[in-house]
């Protein structure tokens, strides 16, 4: 079902939510071995946009996906080998619609494009800098016909903003920094710096 295999439960893997582009529908499962997939009828959830990651993914039937994540959104990791494709992964949370925390990843071009559009919406939103996370709804699907036949591209919209849920704790702008080093910790988006006001004093401060 869907485009990625079921990760084994109880390990480091999060339960996933999958988007089937052929059907234009969302699926997930309860946490636990051999739990059946079920359709997510209302795909509305908190998207952990500050911790969106990109990288190389290799989905193979029957085994957990192999991933090599990029050091940052601006710096691609080296291609780890054949059959790896560019993709993204992000944590979503909805107790009501997803039964909790779910990981969403995809290497499908039309899904990546939809996420790119959502990313632009999120970046442009003034609430972005507040540390709140967007509540995102898949408001519909758009049929895309090409050599692969007809697939359905999800359409995302931001329907609200919320404080970071406890289930998404451990990363992000509104979470107190952990003891981990600054190098290892996921970084929130940087804030745009406005130009200095006319006649303002120097902003730089000696460090060395």
């Amino acid at each position: 079902m869907g485009f990625m295999s079921v990760p084994s439960s109880g390990g480091d893997f999060k339960v996933f939510v999958a988007y089937n582009a052929k059907a234009g529908r969302w699926y997930t499962k309860n946490d636990g071995k051999d739990e059946p997939m079920f359709e997510v009828t209302d795909m509305t959830a908190v998207f952990d946009m500050p911790n969106l990651e990109t990288g190389w993914f290799k989905f193979s039937s029957g085994v957990a996906p192999e991933k090599v994540m990029d050091p940052s959104l601006a710096e691609a990791a080296p291609n780890p080998g054949t059959d790896f494709k560019r993709g993204f992964q992000i944590d979503l949370y909805s107790e009501k619609n997803l039964m909790g925390l779910r990981e969403f990843s995809s290497t499908a071009g039309i899904v990546i494009e939809a996420m790119n559009n959502l990313y632009d919406l999120w970046m442009a939103a003034p609430e972005n800098v507040s540390g709140k996370l967007p509540v995102v709804r898949c408001s519909g699907v758009l049929p895309i016909s090409n050599k692969h036949g007809t697939n359905y591209q999800p359409t995302f919209e931001i329907v609200g903003w919320t404080d970071r849920p406890a289930a998404l704790a451990g990363s992000g702008a509104s979470t107190p920094p952990a003891a981990a080093s600054a190098q290892a910790a996921p970084q929130p988006p940087a804030q745009h710096m406005p130009p200095p006001a006319a006649g303002s004093a120097k902003v730089g401060a000696p460090v060395f």
């Binding site: 940052s72 959104l73 601006a74 710096e75 190098q183 940087a190 804030q191 745009h192 200095p196």
Partner: protein
């Protein structure tokens, strides 16, 4: 006694050099130790071209935007005249709007400082524990504001300063300790200007990388032997240049049919 850098004819380092060593050590060795240069693609030329147009508009704030855009396009056309990169047209299409967006924001900073008739400022700084200096060029320095801005063009806007860019900014900061370092990321649609936080953290990494290079160079005085001890990642875009791939074949003896195509 000369240091390992000097024994290999390297009298300085730069941000791009240490970042290349981290990302693609085999290409670093091929370029720095064997002297094989690599041609860059259309995306890099887009950056050079946009910077040319923005620089023109910043130093002459009354110059019409259209003139700056035309200068950028002309620079791009010049740089890509012989390019076989299939992305040339795509990159060309975004140049004018990137120049407009960058100038719209950066002209608010005023006119950058210039020195000795040059618009870009050369910096040279020695870091503790590194036997050769770091050399670089500042894009736009605003001494009145105490701000240095480095312009980066992108297809999609970064949400933060990347680690390689942070290392570059940390080197600039070490050279101009009283200045704040900002990176202006510009796309054909938008611009984000981010401040480099805590340069000290990144300068420590710069020194660590430089020492790794020194240790690597200390293993042998034979650059060819050092280069041959590495292996190129030919799947990476770094190796898209046919000339670099041909050089890789010469150095590492890769059969052409075994080399993945870009």
């Amino acid at each position: 006694m000369t240091n390992a850098f000097e024994r290999h004819g390297l009298d300085h380092l730069s941000a791009s050099s240490i970042n290349l060593f981290v990302a693609q050590p085999a290409m670093w060795a091929m370029q720095k130790l064997l002297g094989h240069k690599s041609r860059v693609g259309a995306a890099a030329h887009r950056g050079t071209a946009v910077e040319a147009g923005v620089e023109m508009g910043l130093f002459d704030p009354n110059l019409p935007l259209e003139d700056c855009q035309e200068a950028a396009r002309a620079r791009f056309n010049q740089l890509t005249a012989l390019s076989a990169d299939p992305n040339v047209e795509k990159e060309r299409a975004g140049i004018a709007s990137a120049v407009a967006i960058a100038l719209g924001e950066l002209r608010q900073y005023g006119i950058p400082g210039s020195a000795d008739g040059t618009r870009q400022h050369r910096i040279e700084v020695e870091l503790p524990g590194v036997p050769v200096p770091f050399i670089g060029w500042l894009d736009f320095w605003y001494p009145d504001h105490g701000i240095i801005i480095d312009l980066k063009t992108q297809g999609r806007l970064s949400s933060k300063i990347s680690d390689p860019h942070a290392r570059q900014g940390a080197i600039y900061h070490a050279a101009h300790g009283n200045s704040e370092i900002r990176f202006a990321y510009v796309t054909p649609q938008k611009i984000g200007i981010y401040r480099l936080e805590d340069p000290r953290t990144h300068i420590a990494r710069v020194v660590s990388i430089a020492r790794s290079i020194e240790r690597f160079l200390s293993l042998s005085d034979d650059g060819a032997e050092l280069t041959a001890a590495l292996s190129p990642d030919l799947d990476s875009f770094y190796w898209n240049d046919p000339g670099s791939r041909a050089a890789a074949e010469e150095i590492w003896g890769l059969a052409p049919e075994a080399m993945p195509q870009a």
